[in-house]
């Protein structure tokens, strides 16, 4: 476009006439006045909430600070983390086995897996936990041996089934059923052509699964499994009913000893649960990036990388004033 062409762009009454100059300039972006109004409304509401949290005596922030690092609360936190982590790992393993059984060509395995998932998705977790808690009343001993024949090793159930074992077992049994469906969905999401290509190359069957199908399935398994995991972090609060003092259980029992402190105690539990799920979410972000390799042409920058880049740009702008 020649720079000599110069017409009056401000003339409003020549609507259809092409304006050569306008084409050479940057397009003015659309403004969003509604966004500014919405921002102000949200900020005002947030300020109100923050003000209420700070000034309302009911929350007793002093007591909150007193309990936040209380040794009993921290012990409960450790139990919550331990029980969650153990059941999460076991449930993923169990769920994978169940999913593979469900997708196998054996009708017996399919039926067993289907029945397990059906049963444990039907029974509330609290019922499973209480059932296990009373298990020692149903069966006093467990033995390993020939079915209906002689036993080689015999355990007393009460000695085996500590509160922690019952909690982890109950959560694992329950979560495995859900994990199975998540893993199965992930496996089904892998294109049939991938199975065929691996089979056509003659790759051994278990390696077809481990090296070709699983890495691709994990991409859709991870977000769903983390969803389950975050639910699990909070489901652990039910282990209080099998007399295991996790984070919630500790807060609950402290609350019944000091009824006046129940609100700050619940806040302590809330903040710790928020911290736990936040950590899980951050880990999820990086694990997802790891398994997105090849799925996206270029990986988007992490928040840290974006922050660093923004900071560098800012510094460059400050250093070189226009």
């Amino acid at each position: 476009m020649p720079p000599t062409a110069h017409t009056d762009v401000s003339t409003p009454d020549a609507p259809a006439a092409p304006v050569p100059d306008a084409a050479a300039r940057r397009v003015i972006p659309l403004r969003h006045p509604g966004r500014w109004i919405a921002t102000i409304v949200v900020l005002v509401l947030l300020a109100q909430v923050a003000h209420g949290l700070v000034t309302n005596q009911f929350y007793q922030w002093g007591r909150f600070a007193h309990y936040f690092f209380d040794p009993a609360v921290l012990d409960g936190l450790v139990i919550t983390i331990y029980v969650t982590a153990a059941s999460a790992v076991l449930a993923l393993a169990g769920g994978t086995v169940l999913a593979l059984a469900r997708l196998s060509r054996s009708p017996v395995l399919q039926a067993v897996s289907w029945t397990y998932i059906w049963l444990f998705r039907s029974v509330p977790l609290i019922v499973v936990l209480l059932f296990l808690y009373n298990f020692s009343a149903l069966y006093q001993t467990l033995s390993i041996g020939i079915p209906f024949g002689p036993a080689f090793i015999t355990f007393g159930v009460t000695a085996l089934a500590t509160d922690t074992v019952i909690a982890i077992l109950g959560l694992t049994l329950h979560e495995s059923a859900y994990a199975a469906e998540i893993v199965r969905a992930g496996i089904l999401s892998v294109d049939q052509g991938q199975h065929e290509a691996a089979a056509a190359l003659g790759i051994p069957r278990y390696l077809q699964f481990r090296r070709i199908v699983l890495p691709q399935a994990l991409r859709s398994v991870i977000p769903n499994y983390v969803n389950l995991l975050i639910g699990l972090v909070k489901s652990t609060s039910l282990v209080f009913y099998v007399s295991l003092l996790d984070l919630f259980g500790t807060v609950q029992s402290l609350g019944s000893t000091y009824p006046g402190d129940i609100v700050p105690l619940l806040l302590v539990a809330t903040v710790w649960y928020v911290i736990l799920t936040s950590v899980v979410s951050i880990v999820q972000y990086y694990v997802e990036r790891r398994f997105a390799r090849g799925a996206l042409r270029t990986l988007p920058p992490t928040p840290l990388q974006r922050l660093r880049r923004g900071f560098t740009q800012l510094r460059a702008r400050v250093a070189v004033p226009r």
Binding site: L201, G202, I203, P204, R205, F291
Partner: protein, 260 residues
Amino acid sequence: MTTDQDVRPAAVEVHGAVKSFGAHTVLDGIDLTVAAGKVTVIIGPSGSGKSTLLRAINHLEKLDQGYVSVNGEPIGVRRLGDRFKELPERAILAQRRHIGFVFQNFNLFPHLTAVQNVAEAPVTTGAATRSEALEQARALLAGVGLADKEDAYPRQLSGGQQQRVAIARAIAQRPGVILFDEPTSALDPELVGEVLSAIKDLASTGTTLIIVTHEIAFAREVADEVVFLDGGRIVEQGPPSQVLDQPRHARTREFLSKVL
């Protein structure tokens, strides 16, 4: 490289192949002999059973009757008296390592780079160590003109480049026969040439090739034998100069008049 590692072209024989999907008969008694080191092109209208026949050769598709043999060895089955019995999966997988397969939709492993795609099978089947396989994979990628793309993921490659990676992957295990299932049908027209020239290079190495394609000009150029399939039967078979230029059957003439 030692001599016994070199490719030994395989002869392929199809004996009385019958295959139905429900009430629909896809292969209706096919007998076909492909001599070792020859290039055979299978043409025919869609639904004529071309792909099913090709997939039956490496047992991706099980035949209802008949069998396929490669170098005289039945694929996917063994003789048990006067009948054939299915082989266990492990044995079929071992047989497939000598039969390369190139898919219409490439089916590259998206989570692996080009060089990892090519090296995957030799490593997992124990044919080579990881470093040997990677070294060989780089050489194979260079052979199809992709030396600069070895660390690219499939999604970062064009369709033609992906199909060339797939060809390199199919030959990584030095198969005696390579099967191509419409290798250029999913490609943009200007990318077809690069894939066809990679196949042509393979043909000159003396490997047995069986190619299902709609590229009649390509068939005329590389094929030793052209097979025209219709309704699950072989209608006509012979050198390209005969089948493509002087077809004897009306059905072949009709088909060729549509695709040429």
